[in-house]
């Protein structure tokens, strides 16, 4: 039983990392490729074919599929806070790759998110409901 728990925990962490980084880089590429404004409904579609935006959308698909896989065994109340660590990496990517400023308030927020993720991710098993019998 403990072996089974360890297996599930390791698998959960691998998938959480894929979910977080596909989301972070999807947002980064979308932000890089987005024009300053979208005027007509048609532009919402044509913008999807811009190379950076396409790459962002591709990563969004990776994000969605890996998240679906993760949710096939892990609780939603576990997945939601744990993958919120992506907010931290989005801020860091903004600072390093886009030269954005990170204020003290943002660092405080990042610290709170990390504390929350550590509580949920380190303190509880990813799955509390038994598998429904098929």
């Amino acid at each position: 039983m403990t072996h089974e728990r360890e297996r599930l925990r390791l698998k959960t962490w691998i998938f959480a990392v894929v979910v977080v980084f596909s989301n972070v880089f999807a947002n980064f590429f979308l932000k890089r490729g987005m024009p300053p404004s979208l005027a007509t409904p048609l532009e919402y579609i044509t913008v999807l074919f811009h190379p950076w935006v396409s790459l962002g959308v591709l990563l969004m698909i990776v994000w969605m599929l890996s998240r679906m896989a993760l949710l096939s065994w892990a609780d939603l109340s576990y997945v939601v806070p744990v993958t919120a660590v992506g907010y931290v990496f989005v801020a860091l990517v903004g600072k390093v790759l886009l030269n954005e400023q990170i204020t003290m308030k943002r660092w405080a927020g990042i610290a709170l998110i990390v504390a929350g993720v550590a509580l949920v991710g380190g303190g509880s098993a990813p799955q509390t409901r038994p598998e429904p019998s098929p």
Binding site: L71, S72, V80, A84, K105, G109
Partner: protein, 120 residues
């Protein structure tokens, strides 16, 4: 207009993620990650009513979010949509019947405060 869009985003994201979690848990744990097995899993999931509804809700959320980003700052959009964390944790307990321990409530609350601070 922006509050209408935020309402649409929050409602459709929460509905989409709860439906996704319900659909995936009905499918059961995905164990095989060979390309063929992934293809078969996607084919099965494409007929899962919960998953179809979840994808539709998320498409609504995605386009509403694109619309919001054109009329509002990113620093306004992100904290406003963090409301979904609260709604999803409540839905996990009452709709999905997950056992949300006090540790998870505290953790989720810290995350919400952090997201608002980061994005304000």
């Amino acid at each position: 207009m922006r509050w209408l869009l935020i309402g649409i985003i929050v409602a459709s994201t929460t509905a989409g993620e709860v439906l996704e979690a319900a659909g995936m848990r009905r499918h059961g744990e995905i164990r095989d990650f060979h390309p063929g097995a992934i293809g078969r899993a996607i084919a099965i999931l494409a007929r899962n009513r919960f998953v179809i509804a979840a994808v539709a809700a998320m498409a609504v959320s995605f386009f509403a979010y694109l619309g919001l980003l054109t009329i509002a700052d990113l620093s306004f959009a992100v904290p406003a949509t963090a409301v979904t964390y609260v709604l999803e944790t409540v839905a996990a307990k009452y709709v999905l019947k997950e056992h949300v321990s006090w540790l998870r409530w505290v953790g989720a609350s810290l995350v919400i405060c952090g997201v608002v601070l980061v994005a304000l």
